[in-house]
């Protein structure tokens, strides 16, 4: 109670300090707070590939459907997603949980590449377009023990890799890309068939889908392929279809392959010693360093003098590799990332590290991963930043602009990007929040 004869003035410093110390302390997050994992999607949304139904069918009548999502949009998922893959108009998300539902799919389902999605209106038919992440029922023997390691999507088929039950394939099989015998006039839409592949020389550790073919890499370092071979992309020495996964020989016979990559009709494989092997389509000079022919049906060693290669990524017309020192080399045709003047090259050219944020001020920035879409490239740095470049088809680069990007450009994602999957016209990224 202040005295009646004392004027009221600003509180003295001592009062302020005491009030400050007595103020309550809020705790927003504790010491053991974990970083949350999130999924961000962007690109063409009308096929439902982004998994947000309100983009295709808005909630209110006055709202217009969103055809393209030009910047990253957060997708709410029930579980933590550990692997994602983008196909041609559809997406697969997989989590390595032990629960019964392990894989979700969204987008085009005209060839049952997302399994059978029972339509609610007509119980006998399936959905042709899946607008939100829907569980894919896999015929697992031990559904509560098996974990899904990786998923991969091609043009109209998908592969799911599990740790103990081999590989599951679904979707279009007109070229044998699902690893089973081609049935004449088979109707793929609304099909319940999911094929299981187990006969490999050892456990399969990586599955990769090309446009109409599939590649399997086993623990022993050998590569199996099946599917369409008219461009030699199966690498089996002929240009016919293969409907059973068969082992590849050629220059990779006996070599321990640690990574395979493909998206269009060209394939690249990296050995543990850092050598690059390629086969398949070479119409865009992808393999022109060893041969003049436009189709190579046997794996050939590509003698590049760029150092030990750690990772490779194959696009439709261009390829990119990442070396041990963290440099990105590109070659092929199209927008390769070195300005509008470089349109095609048969020999790998390095992208200057300063475009990825390297400078005297921050000299320890390195590129950690490279990924390819059909005509786009994506690179992840060790600081968790995502750089994209290439043709900006229907907003798939995620830069917010609709123009093509001729050199690596940062994508603003609210979090640290852990992995990214590139498709034809959309991309999915797995992101961890900062705190």
């Amino acid at each position: 109670r202040r005295g009646l004869g004392v004027a009221a003035g600003p509180p003295s410093t001592r009062h302020l300090r005491e009030a400050e110390e007595a103020a309550p302390v809020f705790q927003y997050v504790g010491k053991a707070a974990k970083r949350k994992d999130r999924v961000f999607v962007w690109g063409f949304s009308y096929s439902g590939a982004l998994g947000v139904p309100s983009f295709v069918k808005p909630d209110a009548g006055w709202k217009k459907p969103r055809r393209i999502q030009p910047t990253p949009y957060r997708l709410e998922t029930e579980e933590k997603i550990s692997s994602a893959a983008c196909g041609y108009g559809f997406t697969l998300l997989a989590s390595n949980t032990r629960d019964i539902t392990k894989v979700w799919g969204m987008g085009l389902n005209k060839d049952s590449q997302l399994g059978f999605q029972r339509s609610r209106r007509d119980q006998t038919k399936g959905y042709e377009y899946v607008l939100e992440p829907s569980p894919i029922p896999l015929p697992l023997e031990k559904p509560q023990q098996t974990r899904v390691l990786q998923v991969s999507c091609g043009r109209a088929h998908s592969l799911v890799l599990t740790d103990s039950e081999g590989v599951f394939t679904m979707g279009n099989n007109s070229y044998g890309q699902c690893g089973r015998k081609v049935v004449e006039d088979e109707i793929y839409s609304g099909s319940h068939l999911i094929h299981q592949l187990k006969e490999f020389d050892s456990e399969v550790v990586q599955v990769v889908c090309g446009q109409d073919h599939s590649l399997f890499r086993t623990k022993k370092g050998s590569v199996y392929a099946c599917g369409w071979g008219a461009d030699g992309q199966t690498g089996l020495g002929h240009y016919n279809i293969t409907s059973v996964p068969t082992k590849l020989h050629g220059d990779i016979a006996g070599v321990n392959i640690i990574q395979v990559s493909s998206y269009g009709d060209c394939c690249l494989a990296i050995s543990d010693e850092g050598d690059v092997f390629g086969w398949g389509n070479s119409e865009y000079l992808q393999l022109a360093s060893v041969t003049e022919t436009t189709q190579v049906n046997v794996p050939r060693h590509l003698p590049f003098k760029i150092g030990k290669v750690k990772e490779a990524a194959c696009g439709g017309t261009g390829n990119a590799v990442l070396t041990e020192e963290g440099n990105v080399f590109v070659w092929g045709y199209g927008i390769l990332g070195k300005g509008p003047n470089l349109v095609e090259t048969a020999v790998p050219e390095m992208i200057p590290p300063s475009l990825f944020g390297w400078s005297d001020f921050s000299p320890d920035i390195r590129v950690a991963h490279v990924r390819c879409g059909l005509s786009q490239f994506a690179a992840l740095t060790n600081r968790g930043e995502l750089f994209v470049w290439g043709k900006n088809l229907r907003g798939c680069l995620g830069t917010g602009r609709m123009e093509d990007q001729y050199f690596p450009w940062r994508v603003t994602v609210p979090g640290e990007v852990v992995d990214v999957a590139c498709g034809v016209d959309h991309m999915v990224s797995l992101v961890r929040s900062f705190t």
Binding site: V25, G30, D404, T435
Partner: protein, 261 residues
């Protein structure tokens, strides 16, 4: 300054009458150089009555550091330096756990939060993202068409810089010291105000799910002028100023030539 010897008075050739070498009376005109009377110090008065001093980029009352001033002709150089759009370097000190209304530690307290979950790693991640978004803004405001080869080449060398009006852009951030609850950052920026930097410290606190206030803002470099060129208070006299101007002249000229051509 006025006591220093000024310009020598102008000389003029005048024909002065002088006695002829012959006998008395006859007057001859002889050419002689005489100082112009108008230049005499008693006629002209003190050389400098007022000095025009202009200030460079603004510095807050609560901030400290390098402050560039121009004297006389230097004011024109100041406008040229402003058009060069060079970066400034600040050392910003912050304190976790408090949030105030004017983002500095002398304001009214708004909120107190815990901060023991913050690690140096988390802070560096946030700083990397800030740098990333500002890098994008840098490229966008520099008004170069991204589709040209020229844009690619400038981007590789890192020479893209906005040459016109643009909002505050931070070109680089680095964490110098980190000792909970205090931390220190080195920030390189363009077109900023000190209050913007204090707001940035507050936003970093929010991003880390806590709160932060700014305790210290110190400018260590403004374009070409660094702390080493700056005059401390003890040297605010004529000799100090003249020497400083002489030392910096060459640097300023080379920088202006390089940027403005």
């Amino acid at each position: 300054l006025n006591a220093a010897p000024g310009r020598a008075p102008r000389q003029r050739v005048r024909f002065l009458p002088a006695p002829a070498p012959g006998g008395g009376g006859a007057v001859e005109l002889v050419a002689a150089r005489v100082p112009v009377l108008a230049d005499h110090p008693l006629v002209r008065g003190p050389r400098f009555k007022k000095l025009k001093i202009g200030a460079g980029h603004r510095l807050d009352v609560k901030a400290s550091g390098v402050f560039v001033l121009g004297v006389g002709h230097g004011n024109k150089l100041l406008t040229d330096l402003y058009n060069c759009h060079l970066t400034k370097v600040y050392i910003v000190g912050g304190l976790f756990g408090k949030a105030t209304d004017d983002f500095s530690d002398t304001g009214n307290l708004v909120e107190k939060t815990t901060f023991d979950h913050i690690t140096r790693e988390k802070l560096e991640r946030i700083l990397a993202v800030i740098q990333g978004t500002n890098q994008k803004a840098l490229l966008m405001y520099s008004n170069i068409d991204m589709k040209t080869q020229e844009a690619y080449e400038l981007a590789v060398k890192g020479l893209i810089r906005p040459m016109g009006k643009c909002p505050p852009i931070i070109t680089a951030v680095r964490c110098l010291q980190f000792a909970l609850p205090e931390f220190q950052l080195e920030i390189h920026c363009l077109h900023e105000t000190q209050q913007y930097l204090r707001k940035m410290v507050h936003e970093i606190g929010l991003e880390l799910k806590s709160s932060a206030v700014c305790t210290q803002v110190r400018r260590t470099r403004d374009g070409v002028f660094t702390v080493d060129d700056a005059l401390p208070r003890t040297q605010w006299n004529l000799q100090g100023i003249q020497e400083a101007i002489r030392n910096c002249q060459l640097k300023v000229e080379t920088e202006l030539e390089r940027t403005l051509g």
